[in-house]
Symmetry: C2
Subunit: 208 residues, 2 copies
Amino acid sequence: MAAKKQPPLRDRQITSRILISAVGSLLAKKGFKGLGVNAVAREAGVDKVLIYRYFDGLPGLIAAFAQQEDFWPSPVEMAGGDLARFSKLPLDKKLSLFAASFIQALKKRPLSRAIMAWEMIEPNELTEELERVREERIMAFFQMFFAKDHTGIDLQALVMLVGAALSYLVIRSDNIDIYGGLDLATDQGWDRITSVVNMIIQQMVTPE
Amino acid sequence: MAAKKQPPLRDRQITSRILISAVGSLLAKKGFKGLGVNAVAREAGVDKVLIYRYFDGLPGLIAAFAQQEDFWPSPVEMAGGDLARFSKLPLDKKLSLFAASFIQALKKRPLSRAIMAWEMIEPNELTEELERVREERIMAFFQMFFAKDHTGIDLQALVMLVGAALSYLVIRSDNIDIYGGLDLATDQGWDRITSVVNMIIQQMVTPE
DNA sequence: GACTTATGTCACCGATAGGTGATATAAGCA
DNA sequence: TGCTTATATCACCTATCGGTGACATAAGTC
């Protein structure tokens, strides 16, 4: 909640930033359910008409919000923090590290999870753009490090399947503790998940 | 849209059914976005107070709706249609058949997908009940057919991981065509997915 | 027939939604 | 200084939300 009874700032830049960050905090607090012009303006401690004036409405404001945040993990983050080291690893180690980094990256981004969930129910211009960026990023990463396999397996399908599973489970962990008997609320539960992922990787990329 | 100017039916059973089916059609038409007491009553052509009287509110009505619909695939459906035959299969065949059946079951249930997506963004009393039923069902199925493995692998984690991946991908296919380079809009794309799933199963449950 | 109960409609409540026009005032410029 | 413009607030609009109390009427019971 921002302060309210100071004299108004009369600084479009700052006010815009306040509005943008209000989107973030509101999103974190209430999710997309509570995301409306009135609520955002209230959260920012600013009149809602400014949303229309500065951003041409809520979609514009959200678009501005999305641009300044690092929603999707960067390639270096998905590679565990060190691209050079990552590129020298054998394929199975690469995949394991990628999976673990992916989980961590998602776990630390509640807003990204909220948006991923949002995309599933309300596809619109905004989520389309976010989706496009994400697809682009993940494909670039894949091309860079996993493209030239000749093992005969469909590495892309494998990676994306695991990515899909991990995405789903991390998103679900916001709402439920148990999924199919797996405990999504504890490290032990996640150890089971990473273990089975690593086992799959072992079995798949080092045949026999 | 139900008829409106007939004399009222004065039949609780029928009126209740009208309300319940109104939930379904409204959900199909507008998604959960437009799902409220007013909207449901309007769709049913009936006064909204009956929702409170007969179902003790919208959560109760939705719970009633959920019970009569086959949201979640039954064990027999997940077993490919024939439980006896299924139970005689070797473990890897069981798993493959389960995966394929699971995809088909989800693909033919747009309402289930919508609700699954809903659960991710708006956990509430309504979705909690639905979630509980689903967890129960899937655990019962797992216990029945996959519980007694002695292969040393975490079969439960494997099954749930694959289930999570498939759930995510089918839900996403409602909104996007391409996920991580996988074509979710064509049978060929899904063939890639089922192939890699089957390969994982082969590698995991029949070591060497 | 008279009475009770169940079924249903209607009118209304306060809260909140998205959206707009009028107004105050500070800042920039001549 | 005086004028214009940008910044921000305020008051208000209509629509809809979830929810409730009062009332009409048909059905069932004695």
